[in-house]
Symmetry: C2
Subunit: 363 residues, 2 copies
């Protein structure tokens, strides 16, 4: 019971990493000695110290160096994810644990990353650290669902967001779509973006709406926040003055006709008619994309639905009616019988003042 | 304060009439003497005794006749609606009040029915009953919104119910529409029907789906419940074996080509291309219809929306997608600019297990 309590505290700490850690996972760490918490830390932002290092630093600061070092020796650590065993932006956490004499580790789950998976645990055990794996495993995994998804499925978790009217329309025939949904809904979308590693949009939408596709108008710590990457499906002229090409986040253009560019932030990927959405998605993990937010328009929405590649569907419905000549959010082929219709499961409905938000998952 | 308390009790009593009183209003009555409730009653079902009569009966039964009669003399009654002054199925309530010597009356609001409006109060005052009008007026009116609507606007309150998919479809092109929404949503619709005086459907839907359009599968007291009237918009063959023509509720067919029928339950009304939805609705109060539930299909939905004749719009959304060849719930002309789009106000969203229900009102 005590152990669960400490792990739960570690999970709560991990959550503080919020929108700043990805594509790294959110991780929390609690260090305990004689039934007292002597250290706590979490991964605060991408590129920053890991949870274990922060927990050790916390201890050395709080108890002053000598007493802190004494306390750490023979202590127990509760960590929400397997400690890393490779040097990346920071030294491996296994080293820190061994160096400071932490004797026992509870980790909620192994790291799904194939280059780590189990290696951290092995190194610790070799160095006489007692490691227990699995305490509150599901709870700890759930806070990093998209990170686990990418590492186990080899493609990002796909979240698709549609803002539409009661009759399923996203714009007038003239292209006018500002604004279908209300201010609150649009602000809510900013949070969806902030939680995503990348945002995908079709080249048609880029040309028609000229969206910026960045996170704005919400409170963020700009020093720690990294704007999501932008992915364009289809050809766009990179010499043009398109808003989406601005800002220093990476842009990935899937094109069958790449225009040359000197902008190091723009990367091209081959798009061909035979390339499926699924194979396209499989190219994204190498860009460190755990979660992809698909933002539109109609053609992109339809192809993702057609290929059954939407893991989470979020629809904002505005109580308007745009009529038969307006543009539908979806244009997929109809099934022959109702039983075969594409079907989602509603997870949550959220009233949004003027609109309503429906969150659905694949069945 | 005490007065408000008693009136509030009367309102709570009135609500017990639930689905059984319409097209009569729900009415409650509390009789008080020496700060004690000595009588309470409500209008239980259409054709039954009125609230005031039931409250007097309650008193005479509870206290035995002689003591009851004594108590009633000089008592005060709290009634949610002006007492009726005309004989209908039961004697006028004003008579009862005068006969038993009730000295003071609080009534929450006047009866909006033009043949009563103020007459009840006048008769009582002439007979030396002290009458105060307006206590908790809005609260009392809200429980009979549709009754007040009909008597003030001269047409029924129109509630339109659509069961559709995420992409705004109500059936496959083949006509298959069983079942778009889940069992829970369908049961919920039974309650909407039970609360309505009449259900309207287009002749196209009658021919295609052959609906029964009655209240079923929910717990009702069959002795007191009257099935809603059925209104068909368009021509149907009354010699056919259509389910909608069965049952003993009244059927009103708006037709430009009435087929002859000996069925006394079937009434015809003239329909012409020039007849607007509004003028059609104005013919319904004479059938004692306070609230009309519009059930489909696409053509009927669209014409009510087009004419802005929907007071409450209820949409059940199933998280399915039926695709571009399926039948849309609405087929109205698109506006030129977004600002001119038909717009509703969301009043409530109700999760329905598998589906979601959105209740909207006219803006």
């Amino acid at each position: 019971m005590q152990d669960s309590y400490y792990m739960n505290e570690a999970i709560k700490l991990a959550l503080k990493g919020s929108i700043y850690t990805h594509p790294n996972p959110k991780v929390g760490c609690i260090i305990v000695k004689n039934n007292q918490i002597i250290g706590k830390g979490y991964h605060r932002y991408f590129g920053g110290d890991h949870a274990e290092v922060n927990a050790v630093k916390y201890c050395l600061k709080k108890f002053k160096k000598d007493k802190g070092l004494k306390l750490l020796k023979g202590s127990t650590a509760y960590i929400t994810l397997e400690p890393c065993s490779i040097s990346s932006k920071t030294p491996p956490c296994t080293e820190t644990i061994i160096k400071y004499g932490i004797k026992k580790i509870f980790c909620a789950s192994l790291d799904p990353n194939k280059s780590i998976n189990g290696r951290g645990v092995k190194i610790l055990r070799k160095n006489n650290v007692d490691v227990k794996v699995g305490l509150l495993k599901n709870e700890a995994k759930s806070i990093n669902e998209e990170f686990f998804f990418r590492h186990t499925k080899g493609r990002p978790f796909v979240r698709m967001k549609i803002a539409q009217t009661l009759d399923g329309k996203i714009a007038l025939n003239s292209g006018e779509s500002k604004w279908i949904t209300s201010k609150d809904s649009r602000e809510d979308v900013q949070y969806l973006r902030a939680e995503s590693d990348a945002i995908l949009v079709g080249s048609g939408t880029v040309k028609k709406d000229n969206p910026r596709l960045n996170v704005r108008n919400i409170k963020i710590n700009k020093d720690k926040f990294r704007q999501p990457k932008k992915i364009i499906l289809g050809n766009v002229n990179t010499k043009s003055n398109l808003s989406i090409l601005k800002g220093d986040s990476e842009k990935i253009i899937f094109s069958n006709n790449p225009s040359s560019t000197k902008d190091s932030k723009i990367k091209y990927r081959k798009l061909s008619n035979s390339k499926t959405i699924e194979s396209l998605l499989k190219e994204l993990p190498e860009f460190e994309i755990n979660s992809l937010l698909v933002e539109g328009g109609s053609e992109v929405f339809s192809s993702f639905i057609n290929k059954n590649m939407v893991d989470e569907l979020i629809i904002y419905i505005s109580p308007k009616i745009l009529g038969k000549n307006a543009i539908s959010s979806l244009n997929i082929k109809s099934p022959k019988i109702l039983k075969n219709a594409t079907n989602f499961k509603i997870i949550e409905t959220v009233p949004m003042k003027e609109d309503i938000k429906i969150i659905m998952r694949r069945i």
